[in-house]
Symmetry: C2
Subunit: 761 residues, 2 copies
């Protein structure tokens, strides 16, 4: 068996040698290039665009403006389509926008023979705006009299929901309760995938073909068709190797515009590659959240009533909208539900004139977990309780079943993870030892739990189809629309398919390029769904494939099919004796003069389960109080992601997620000039993305309780590693300094203010 | 219904605008290029190659010689593999050859950064040969003491077979028989497809990928693997648009070498594009045949005994070998079998030091039909019989069933075709009017019948798999490995699929690029098989697709599946009333929260029938006797290809085939210097390929008897148009001049000799 082994990534050689073909590598020579003209106001209206000078420049093929673009709003979020309008994503943006909603909004585009001509043309376009004051914060946007960014959004609120478990007002009337309240804020951060958004589009046989670095080829196809008003089958999307996505490429970003542009030049190939700056302000970011938590506890530390109020900065356009804030309410309602305290949640998703919030690794949970786990620490301190014991006192019990998702907490995953994390970080000793640090440089340890689930059922459908194609040598191609975007999907699919079919992993060829014309339907890479949902599809297709193989093996060997099996690439009899290699049956069958058949199998798996994926982070920091500087000394993530398909890849996933968590907690934030709304650090020099040199060596520890709802016992691991790190670091700083900083990133700027307020400096 | 209508080619726009992507268009920028060093002797042995100077040149990456190439002979013919060694093609060539068998044999290769460096390197390589006299003709090669070109080929005979129907020797003893004997010769000609042989190869995930202009992607994959000694699943072949093949690309030409070269440079992309000259001498040609026919007839013109003896010039390597000559024996044995005369055939396929004979449109029948139909004319003249009446007196009767192929002559196709041809050319009047021409410029009309069959069963397996993929808008992708190579396959597949499924042809998207990783197995474009075999696959897959659609339609409409049908893109009830468009069912099914399914269907069709495809050519010529020059004045082909899927495309097929027949009969021949074996006219300037300006307007006439063994009543039309033209022209010259020229092409050089011998000049 190969599941559970750290086989090398199937694309390792291609990637480390630079051989792997990404979107730009596949683009023909001498294509047209497009560039976008971005608004230089954050909030306003384009009154007039003069393109005459630009259009006259040599090498310029076409200049189009927001006045030329179709008046057809479309959704961009990479969700499975729902035929129920109530479950559809907000459709609030156009290919080019006259109503400008962020500094850098797309108002015109140039198609030219080369990039130089395109850039010169952009500079030659003259724009007149009607300008309004930029609304950069949720508070500004919701203020009385603020300009409305989108029709039908009163107070610029995209959506507002409230949910209650139990009777909060009655519960808080209990005598002797201790109330703790605080407001927590998380920054707007960006995914910073290595490969910028890039696509090229052309027309073939009256259809539009878009080759794009996307996580969601089948969904991108649907959105392009919606944006262009085409029947969906008239669009074809091809996804080559992808240089990272982290959720940003779970939106249809510029594929619709690119598709439209090729239709304007008779279907000639047009390439649209964004610069890093454009990716920062023009694609998607993680929503900044402001969260108010109120907790009412008995003195023994049991919750009686809790409330969660959150304002999510949606930025300029709807994208995934309210669902990010909504996911946070799931964490809040479920993670500490042991004593069934009354809970109430009220959340607002609010348009502002900043970069559009979309999906980003964690999908709302890094923000909410930061608030919850900071709050747990603050409560424990206030009640003088051990923070871990306090958590377990209120933690979701083993055996809990969520009434909506039907998720079940099958195992003591939290207990196991915390135990391992404590041991690794040497928690008890350091917790005691650092308590009395009083110098200018102090150490602290902190921890945080996280809640996560797997895939998106029952919020959306979960569906994955798999096709398998048998070759003459007994090897098998597997096709799924669940995409390799750097996370190792193709490798784990290969491993699972090999074991399911009964052949060596070297004989499984995962088709890495998705092409919506031929790739079975699946919704793509998001929601940490791929291994969980893809494995169901693989197992289901395998059943059909093996059935066909064994029928032909029976014909070939003369033995009844029921007595045969396929093991290790061989046909074996009921005594497990090798009768012949699979290759013989495959070859004989394909070329048989009587019974020729190309053995393939295809099947759609619909998954109607979901699985909790739990764990924690332990962090150790050193805080230089006069410099207001934190150094991360050590960090460990402990995960129960069920059975690991490939432990080495799993470790890589965790390390990457921890790095993003550290950046989120300590250094990253997209900043805007408050007067103009112009982004201030939309580049990798000024935006402080941590690198390996900024980190201590990260440690990943696993607990492997096999998930019962999953064929290979696996569950979410893609996003969970990034969820709890920031809170653990913040709690370590709290341990080191006694200062509860309720806002990240923990930059010197923010820390200095907090330390000053606390009288430390 | 759309079958039978002349819808525009689905790829017309792409092709006329130059938008269609051919192999070279898809090749990355800055790849390595390979060029081949060809021998400058026609027969010999490479003793030594000095590559030192070449390897030192700037830009040269690698130089390899025949001494480096693996000693692993492989077959090149594009036939379905047979697990029976007796049915396998000759495996007699290596990637590079030490034993040189033609002028231009491949003895070394250079991989360089660009073409200039590669060309310079070729010139810097020094070769020493041991040289033998070139054996350019069958006679030379079979001569006592001739050097043996391949092991195990006594007298250089690749294969020699004899077959007899009835007792020839007894039959010829009948009293009063008239004997007619003659020898006919046909030239070596080349396909002259517009796109030269071109491929590029690279490695991905430990596998070799070859993108190639091939007719046979799945077969090419197998051959590459055999040549490189790899498991077949380790090779992937991708076939983009192809600029013509005509059988030449039914061999694995340079794909194996290209594949090997990339493995020598760590899998970097290597492009190998042949020049026109290399295509002429280094790929495949139509076998030149020398055929001796002896006929014994009663004075009334009925055959009593006939013999056919043929020597086929195989050239340097085995390729399709004996099967071309063997197909001629089928024509001979079946076309004039009415009176069951005794027949005997004896054929030799002989290696020589010339270009390798392979598949070319007609596959042996243009040669044999030239001989047979010339011979029929000669006999008719000798017996003073009307040549058409004489033919019908001996022609295969309606109702005849061939005992081997089980082909049945269902219809009076010959009678119908001849009648139409006669009427079009105004036969009776011109036949009488031109008889007495006696000036220096004379006119004549001639005709010839042809025999053809469809596909290759029962010689080889006939198998085609088809996959169909339903989109949300009710449109469908279809995938087959039967390839579009310019003949319109994608268009007729589209039409047949549309009618079978019950949707508009605009909603069928034929996937034109074959990729052996994902394209269902099929053997490709050859044997005029595609429409006949592909339609079986389409109909079979459609049945599965419709079944799935109607099950979901039943769920969607609440009506029983058995009462529903899919017509014109709509779900209809038993009263043919439209219930909803297919798009609604497709969308609902894909996104259904309970029953989500991506509706696809895939099935392998094995065809165990074959179908005769008959017809004739009528030609009118003007012969300038002093100039020994023939002008083709008018030519018409009449075909019964069963039901026409697309009449306009059918007409195009016929016109193209007639042009090739005219070139074969009148101008084309590959020539060699008899002393050295060096090709003399291996370029499009000196090789007299006719163009439109050389032709009169061609006429195609069809008789449409629906073929009972074929789902849409269709049968072979790809190759038949090229079979009978040369004989009709030759017979017209005979009619005009009284000179029976038994050798083509009818160039002034050949005609002058014949006219001189006949005393005309």
């Amino acid at each position: 068996m190969c599941v559970g082994k750290s086989i090398p990534r199937v694309d390792a050689f291609e990637k480390v040698t630079g051989r792997a073909k990404y979107t730009d590598d596949l683009c023909e020579r001498n294509v047209l290039v497009a560039r976008i003209l971005h608004s230089t106001v954050a909030n306003g209206l384009v009154k007039k665009i003069d393109t005459a000078a630009a259009a006259r420049l040599p090498g310029v093929v076409k200049v189009v403006t927001c006045f030329d673009a179709p008046d057809r709003p479309f959704p961009t979020a990479g969700h499975p389509w729902s035929t129920d309008p109530a479950h559809q994503d907000p459709a609030d943006r156009k290919l080019l926008n006259t109503r400008v909603r962020l500094y850098g909004d797309d108002i015109a585009a140039v198609i030219a023979e080369d990039e130089v001509a395109a850039s010169r043309a952009l500079r030659a376009i003259k724009v007149e705006y009607e300008e309004y004051p930029p609304l950069l914060t949720v508070e500004d946007a919701m203020a009385e009299g603020a300009a409305r960014l989108h029709e039908g959004s009163p107070g610029n609120v995209l959506k507002h929901t409230a949910i209650a478990d139990g009777d909060f007002d009655a519960a808080v009337r209990e005598e002797g309760l201790i109330e703790v309240e605080a407001v927590y804020r998380t920054p707007v951060v960006q995914h910073c995938h290595i490969e910028n958004a890039v696509s090229f589009a052309y027309m073939e046989k009256g259809r539009v073909v878009v080759v794009s670095s996307t996580q969601i080829p089948h969904i991108a196809r649907r959105i392009i068709a919606q944006a262009l008003g085409l029947p969906w089958g008239k669009v074809r999307v091809i996804k080559p190797f992808v240089g990272g996505g982290f959720g940003n490429k779970q939106d249809a970003l510029y594929e619709p515009l690119n598709a439209w542009l090729t239709t304007l030049v008779g279907g000639r190939t047009v390439k649209l590659e964004l610069s890093r700056e454009e990716v920062f302000f023009g694609t998607r970011v993680r929503h900044g959240l402001k969260m108010r938590l109120r907790s009412f506890l008995r003195p023994d530390g049991t919750f009686v009533a809790r409330s969660y109020e959150a304002y999510s900065n949606q930025g300029a356009y709807g994208s995934h909208g309210h669902s990010i804030a909504a996911k946070g309410t799931n964490v809040f309602r479920q993670l500490y539900n042991r004593n069934d305290a009354a809970r109430k949640c009220e959340i607002w998703t609010v348009y502002t004139n900043t970069a559009t919030g979309g999906a980003m690794r964690g999908y709302g949970t890094p923000q909410t977990v930061f608030a919850i786990e900071s709050h747990m620490e603050d409560i424990a301190a206030k009640l003088r309780l051990d923070p871990i014991a306090f958590r377990f006192k209120n933690l979701m019990p083993v055996g809990y079943v969520d009434p909506f998702s039907k998720n079940k907490n099958f195992f003591p995953s939290f207990e196991q993870c915390v135990e391992k994390g404590k041991a690794y970080i040497d928690w008890d000793r350091k917790r005691a030892a650092y308590r009395n640090d009083s110098g200018p440089v102090r150490r602290g340890v902190g921890m945080a739990l996280f809640w996560y689930n797997t895939a998106v059922w029952p919020i959306s459908i979960e569906v994955s189809a798999c096709r398998m194609v048998l070759n003459q040598d007994g090897s098998v191609q597997i096709q799924l629309a669940e995409t390799e975007i750097g996370q190792g999907a193709d490798t784990v699919f290969t491993q699972m398919a090999a074991d399911a079919i009964g052949i060596r992993w070297e004989d499984v060829h995962a088709v890495t390029t998705q092409d919506t014309d031929v790739t079975p339907f699946g919704t793509g890479a998001y929601g940490s769904r791929q291994t969980y949902v893809g494995s169901a599809a693989i197992v289901q297709a395998t059943r059909l494939l093996r059935e066909k193989i064994l029928v032909h093996a029976a014909r070939y060997t003369g033995l009844p099919a029921g007595s045969l099996d396929l093991v290790g690439g061989n046909i074996v009899n009921s005594a497990n004796r090798v009768l012949c290699p699979l290759s013989e049956v495959a070859t004989d069958t394909l070329y048989h003069t009587e019974y020729a058949e190309h053995i393939t199998a295809e099947s759609t798996a619909q998954v109607k389960t979901n699985a909790y994926s739990f764990g924690c982070t332990f962090a150790e920091v050193e805080v230089d109080i006069p410099l207001a500087k934190v150094r991360l000394v050590n960090m460990v993530n402990c995960h129960d992601a069920g059975r690991l398909i490939n432990p080495l890849l799993a470790e890589g996933q965790v390390h990457g997620g921890m790095s993003m968590a550290a950046g989120f907690g300590m250094s990253e934030e997209l900043l805007y000039d408050p007067a103009t709304g112009k982004p201030l650090n939309a580049n990798l020099l000024d935006y402080k993305l941590p690198t390996m040199l900024d980190h201590p060596p990260f440690k990943a520890i696993f607990v492997e309780n096999p998930e019962p709802t999953s064929p290979f016992g696996t569950k979410a691991l893609g996003e969970p590693p990034t969820v709890s790190g920031a809170a653990a670091i913040r709690n370590a700083v709290f341990h080191a300094t006694g200062v509860a900083v309720n806002r990240i990133p923990l930059t010197p700027h923010i820390l200095f203010e907090a330390f000053k307020e606390a009288g430390l400096v």
